[in-house]
Amino acid sequence: MPKHEILSEEEKKELLERLKIQEKQLPKILDSDPVIKKINAKAGDVIKITRNSPTAGKSIYYRLVISK
């Protein structure tokens, strides 16, 4: 399972600025997800996921926590 981290408010702002997108355009992750429960993230947080990619070695993905 890849590593999940919660972004701080500043990091989140910086990310959205850098990608020039809005929060809702990010891929989603449900707050009922076992990993989200484990790291105590709340709806509205942005999760940074560091994947082990077979092509790039490491790739970073972001997901927005939403409640269903």
Binding site: D33, V35, T55, K58, R63, K68
Partner: protein, 403 residues
């Protein structure tokens, strides 16, 4: 643009091996970077269509040459096209759920592995019973137990009666190898039913795991099972929860989350393709898996999943069930904003693919007239103009970034 870390690592390894100078290494990186750039998809290139073609062409091949295996040590699993359909349709239960269980380092001993495997395998009453006799007048069932098998499975005969959880019965052990079950109700038909539920009752192991095979995989013992229940396996001592997986994507999703489920989709699809001797670039499968998991849930590809949930009416109608979508849309009064590729192709307009996705943005050349107005109201016009230009520019940039 930067090279992916994997390539840089490989270059560094090579440089170290050949003892290259820093200058030469930098030169190699530059050269590879320029090569890499040539193979990267351009912004707004319709990779979805390329993906669909790259995956469906070999899938067509697959239907024509499905091999069958016989006699291999292991477990028979659904493979080939049926399995591909299972994965991409996001079926809740695969036809043959399996688990691959890895063990911790201090459990790499055949005896210990066997013990773990025993703990996992489900044992029902019928596995340890030799024969049963029914007495209809006294209303009891006697089960002759296979003591050798019970020893093999490590079942204590004294504890056996407690493990049978059926209402309205009384259990006793006689002669150390006979289990007597007395039925409390006066019902002969019920007695026959009782016999079946008695033989099917769960004694030991994990429910649903019907077969367990221990294999050696590159100096390591691996247990593969037919039937899966990850949650319970994770509680067993000695197994390595970081590597143990199963092929039921929804189970992974429930236990480990959406990211793990995405990885499983990629792995399973790649495995199925490779097993059939087909070579599809993993990037296409990754794109597909990303698409299936983008909303935090696993969505199927097809009518009930991604294609059926698109925002545009015309796109949905063009895929399947045309009438249904048009009727529903007209009842609801849906609007189509004609933003996607398919809608615009239908309308005979420039579709937002490739160069069609971009519009020219430029500052308006300053004419004498404009300068005049500028001098009249110098501050306001300048500000609004630059704001507009900025907005347009940022829009263009997001489009490029997205792709």
């Amino acid at each position: 643009m930067m090279l992916p870390p994997k390539y840089i690592k490989e270059i560094e390894k090579y440089a170290e091996k050949k003892k290259l100078t820093e200058k030469k290494k930098q030169k190699i990186i530059e050269k590879i970077e320029s090569l890499y750039k040539r193979f990267v998809y351009d912004p707004e290139e319709p990779i979805g269509i390329v993906t669909a073609q790259s995956l469906s062409e070999p899938a067509t091949q697959m239907t024509m040459r499905t091999y069958h295996f016989a006699g291999t040590a292991g477990i028979q699993v659904t493979l080939g096209l049926p399995r591909m359909i299972e994965i991409f349709d996001a079926r809740k239960e695969p036809k043959t759920p399996t688990m691959t269980i890895y063990l911790k380092k201090d459990y790499q001993d055949i005896e210990k592995v066997k013990r773990v495997a025993e703990e996992i395998k489900e044992i029902k009453m019928k596995d340890i019973v030799l024969s049963t006799t029914i007495d209809l007048t006294e209303l009891w069932i006697k089960c002759k137990l296979d003591t050798n098998k019970m020893k093999e499975y490590n079942i204590d005969i004294e504890k056996l009666p407690k493990k049978i959880r059926i209402r309205g019965i009384e259990t006793k052990i006689e002669n150390n190898n006979i289990l007597k079950v007395v039925y409390k109700k006066d019902d002969i038909r019920g007695l026959y039913k009782l016999k079946y539920s008695l033989l099917e009752s769960h004694i030991k192991g994990i429910k649903g795991v019907s077969q367990v095979v221990v294999n050696k995989e590159q100096d390591e013992w691996v247990i593969s099972t037919l039937g899966s229940n990850l949650k319970k396996v994770f509680n067993i001592e000695g197994i390595d929860p970081t590597r143990t997986t199963c092929n039921n994507i929804f189970e992974i999703y429930d236990v480990l989350g959406i990211e793990a489920a995405r990885n499983t989709i990629v792995e399973q699809a790649k495995f199925t393709m490779e097993e059939q001797g087909l070579d599809v670039d993993i990037r296409y499968i990754m794109l597909l898996a990303d698409l299936m998991t983008v909303d935090g849930e696993i969505k199927a590809i097809g009518r009930y999943g991604i294609s059926g949930q698109k925002t545009s009416v015309l796109v949905r109608a063009s895929f399947e069930e045309t009438k249904k979508h048009f009727v529903n849309a007209s009842v609801k009064g849906e609007r189509d904003k004609l933003k996607g590729a398919i809608e615009n192709i239908m309308m005979n307009q420039v579709a937002p693919i490739g160069t069609g996705a971009f519009e020219l943005v430029g500052s308006i050349p300053k004419t004498k007239k404009a300068e005049k107005t500028k001098s009249e109201k110098p501050k306001k016009t300048e500000k609004t103009k630059s704001k507009k230009a900025k907005k347009a520019e940022s829009k263009k940039k997001t489009k490029t970034k997205k792709s």
